[in-house]
Symmetry: C2
Subunit: 572 residues, 2 copies
């Protein structure tokens, strides 16, 4: 009996090894070399400096198969500006030094230097990459990562074509330097709404009254993006939200979209005409070219959640064989009302894990962190805070400081895990808007289960609460629920949590005056950002850090160093 169990074990191990070899031999390595440069671009007809990858913004789509290794040699050719690139949605399991976050996992890469990112794309799905340095992302340094299922593995939906990806972004005409200066100035100067919405890097700014050298409506660089479809076919569109500020709706005139994937997880399919998408989110939708094929249709994107001051972004859904630049005969249908929060919450609630692909969450949490999101003032400057702490990033990366035990690099006091939810009125402007600032972090027991309840509140303006897309590095989380008003500790966990079929994601919206509850397992050794994905809010302190199992992380690679205290490691 013991013998036979032993031989069974041996056979099992042999088989396991055999399949490991097979899967190893199938996994490919994709090697890219990216030169990062400033280039004059006229993406929305208005000429401005953009940051390009090998001349392109958005950058190239990284296409790979589950299990493949991606190697990207990022050569900084920005002359005076550093760079760091984050692989958004890639959990970097076991590779925290490759997360690409300035001040957390690496020093930014200096002009002339090269950083080699290497990581495994371990799960099919749609992901993104973008700069994670200051407010550099908004200058155009971003793109999509498309990971397909390996041969022999099937997906629970069918389509004829998976070649199309759509990057949705917003576009400011002023420089990232101007924006960073405004956001950190005293008195504070708000950067305002973006000038354009871009679809795959193309928009249309109104050039009238502007010199043609500056803004030229006939510049081919700002011809609308056109997606060509063959009548009757079904298309998988992979869509990434890469805005710096705006929450968006996306729609294809006259066509339904079936949402099937979100942030790399299969969604129980649902049909919509307006896909709400927040900065940091990715979706796959299926669209069938089932409308009259004699014409083209509008694809469009609109600002929601903020009173729009930015015109819709436009593209062409082109039915073959119509000319791909033939404009649709219709006037653009209006998008959804910008302030219809209910419709947006409904979509959030509709996104559930697909039957047959449910990863059940742990039934309880080991720790609950409540994060009150507030707009505040710190030393006269406008900031965002969590539990009345507005985060200040140190200039020595957290993970290096942690590994080296440099306890004075960041505040060792634990970050606050809750706020005075009995007494805080989330519907009013506070009498005292002053906040505190700290570089403190949350330390989580390795492999423990952590709930985070994001609690929204009124901003510093009467009757105003903003939407914040929260993104977690290094992990996916279960989205346990969304609700209106103040989270009720005694009843909402029981009554409103979905522990049956919650979707896993890496980015979720926190709706105005609402709450969003997440659960994740702290099972990836490192120090990880959790932050509002709005570029300005991040710069204004709307972030926290989770440390867990960092003692298991290896020594920092040389390429991650060069700034702050890491210079003390240089032995001449």
């Amino acid at each position: 009996m013991v013998e036979s169990r032993k031989s069974l074990t041996m056979i099992f191990l042999a088989l396991k090894f055999f399949f490991m070899i097979i899967s190893l031999s199938e996994a490919r390595v994709h090697n890219y070399t990216w030169e990062i440069t400033y280039q004059f671009k006229s993406q929305d007809c208005y000429k401005k400096l953009a940051i390009a990858i090998n001349g392109m913004t958005p950058g190239p789509v990284i296409s790979a198969t589950e299990g493949d290794t991606i190697i990207v040699n990022v050569i900084n050719r920005l002359i005076m500006e550093n760079v760091a690139i984050h692989w958004h949605g890639i959990r970097q399991i076991g590779t925290p030094w490759m997360d690409g976050t300035d001040s957390v996992t690496q020093c930014a890469t200096l002009p002339g230097d090269t950083f080699t990112y290497q990581f495994v794309v371990d799960r099919a799905g749609t992901y993104m990459y973008h700069s994670h340095y200051g407010v550099q992302k908004e200058t155009g340094l971003y793109g999509l990562i498309k990971v397909t299922v390996p041969p022999g593995k099937s997906e629970p939906f069918k389509y004829d074509d998976d070649r199309h990806s759509i990057v949705l972004s917003d576009w400011y005409h002023s420089s990232s330097y101007a924006e960073a200066t405004k956001l950190t100035s005293l008195p504070f100067v708000w950067i305002g709404e973006p000038q354009s919405l871009l679809i795959n890097g193309r928009g249309k700014y109104d050039c009238s009254n502007l010199n043609a050298n500056v803004c030229n409506a006939t510049n081919p660089e700002c011809l609308p993006y056109s997606l060509t479809v063959v009548p009757g076919k079904t298309y998988r569109l992979r869509i990434g939200g890469l805005t710096s500020l705006s929450a968006l709706s996306f729609q294809i005139e006259g066509h339904n979209m079936t949402v099937v994937e979100a942030d790399g997880h299969y969604v129980e399919p649902f049909v919509t005409q307006n896909l709400y998408i927040y900065s940091g989110e990715t979706y796959s939708v299926l669209v069938t070219a089932n409308q009259a094929s004699s014409r083209n249709y509008w694809m469009s994107t609109n600002v929601v959640g903020r009173k729009p001051a930015t015109p819709p972004g436009l593209a062409i859904f082109n039915y073959y064989p119509n000319h791909f630049h033939k404009l649709p005969p219709t006037t653009l249908p209006p998008g959804p009302a910008w302030n219809d929060t209910r419709a947006r919450i409904n979509q959030s609630l509709a996104i559930k894990a697909r039957q047959g692909f449910i990863q059940s969450p742990p039934s309880t949490a080991d720790k609950v962190i409540v994060l009150l999101n507030t707009q505040n003032t710190f030393e006269g400057r406008r900031r965002w805070s969590l539990n009345n702490v507005s985060h200040t990033l140190p200039h020595t990366p957290y993970l290096i400081a942690q590994k080296k035990n440099w306890t004075d690099v960041f505040d060792q006091t634990p970050a606050p895990e809750s706020y005075d939810f009995q007494n805080y009125d989330i519907y009013s402007v506070q009498g005292n808007t002053n906040t505190t600032s700290s570089s403190s972090i949350y330390r989580l027991k390795f492999n423990s289960t952590v709930d985070v309840i994001l609690q929204n509140a009124n901003t510093m303006n009467v009757n105003d609460s903003e939407t914040h897309p929260w993104h977690l590095h290094g992990h996916d989380f279960w989205v346990l629920g969304y609700g209106d008003g103040k989270f009720n500790m005694s009843s909402d966990i029981l009554e409103k949590y979905n522990l049956v079929d919650p979707i896993m994601k890496n980015t979720v919206p926190l709706h105005p005056y609402g709450w969003t509850a997440l659960r994740f397992r702290a099972d990836n050794p490192g120090i990880w950002l959790f932050h509002c994905h709005i570029e300005a809010h991040y710069l204004m302190g709307m972030l926290v850090l989770f440390e867990s199992g960092s003692e298991m992380v290896g020594e920092p690679p040389q390429q991650n160093m060069g700034c702050g205290r890491t210079k003390s490691l240089m032995k001449p």
Copy 2:
């Protein structure tokens, strides 16, 4: 006899020690902390992002006494851009790591980091500081250094007042990023002429037709600089040329100026009404307030050497007690003709060492380097070359690479010491404008005497030769001569060199179609830049490097490292 000589020596040594103690006890340490930030400034009424030191551009004047120690803690708060500051005219004898030149003596300082510059101002005179990183200088990161004679030491001229310093600069409305992008783009895009000339950071752009948010002629930030004088008094004005492109003339309506100092050396006084000043030069002039005191007078600066597309810069020479902002009753007198090269050469020739303060040059040179200055094409891009080599800076600093014996960081082939002067026609556009590119350097025997003959030539345009202000780091040089046309190796040394009373300087102009001859002693261990001080030309490769005695230089400080190969010195 021997005994008495011995005791004399002892007495002499004791006295020397005694005076050394005295001078040591008198030498002061000036400690500054500078926060470097981007700020919106309206220096010429047009609002643009400038780089400020503690909120100011130009930065504060550093005032010290000969022998004092200057310590400047430079805190980079630029968010995404690095910084490096050069102390222009300070020879850094024995302190090469403090020269502040990116790619040569240090890695640029990252945002959040601090670099502490410490050096001795070892000679009274007028010097400058400015960014030495990419084309960052032109964003306003510069100022003057004023070093006075120590108590007990007298100067060979008299004045009543030494409080006034004047920074002359030019001002572009586009960003340094835009300019760097244009200058390195394919096809090449010339940045054009500056929009304004500034006097102490103030100019007046024509705001008509521009939105008042962008350009407001009534903004107090662009009120003209006003220098108040008391009738009858004599003023020493210290003037620094900090333009990025323009060569200038400077004048005070109706007043003579007596030139008494240049680049920290006493000039045999001469009187002029137009002071020609090139980027990188400093002068002291004496001006007596000896005109009708009932009114104010114009101070102005004009572009010379290039066909002006930039209006004159204006300031007010204010006679007390007239109101300091009362405009002069006259229309601005025209400056000198921009293309009167002869007048400019005449001033160059007039600048001689002051009698009684002549430091005689070595009578012969150990080595002669001839540098042909040409405009060229390299891989389709516009460049400047010396002896057909356009310089490419490595991203690991030279001096660190040299100390670490990293022979692959820069080209070890010696840089070319001459060109084919028999056959090269300096008056014509070359048939083949292609050049080569290299990071090679000149290695000079320590303490040897080196002559450099700068030879100008036609650019890539017919009938065009530009003025280049050449600046040497780490040393002053004797200005042996200027001449028209091609330097004649067999006769010009004998006939045209001034070995009697040559001035010492750190920056000299190379005039159109002319030559300029310098001599210096390679007596300061290190690797030192010698380059055209025009920001764009420097970026386009118009520089060489001199290595000498670098084996005597100590190990690189940690703060100088962090980029390129220096990361390999980090031991985790």
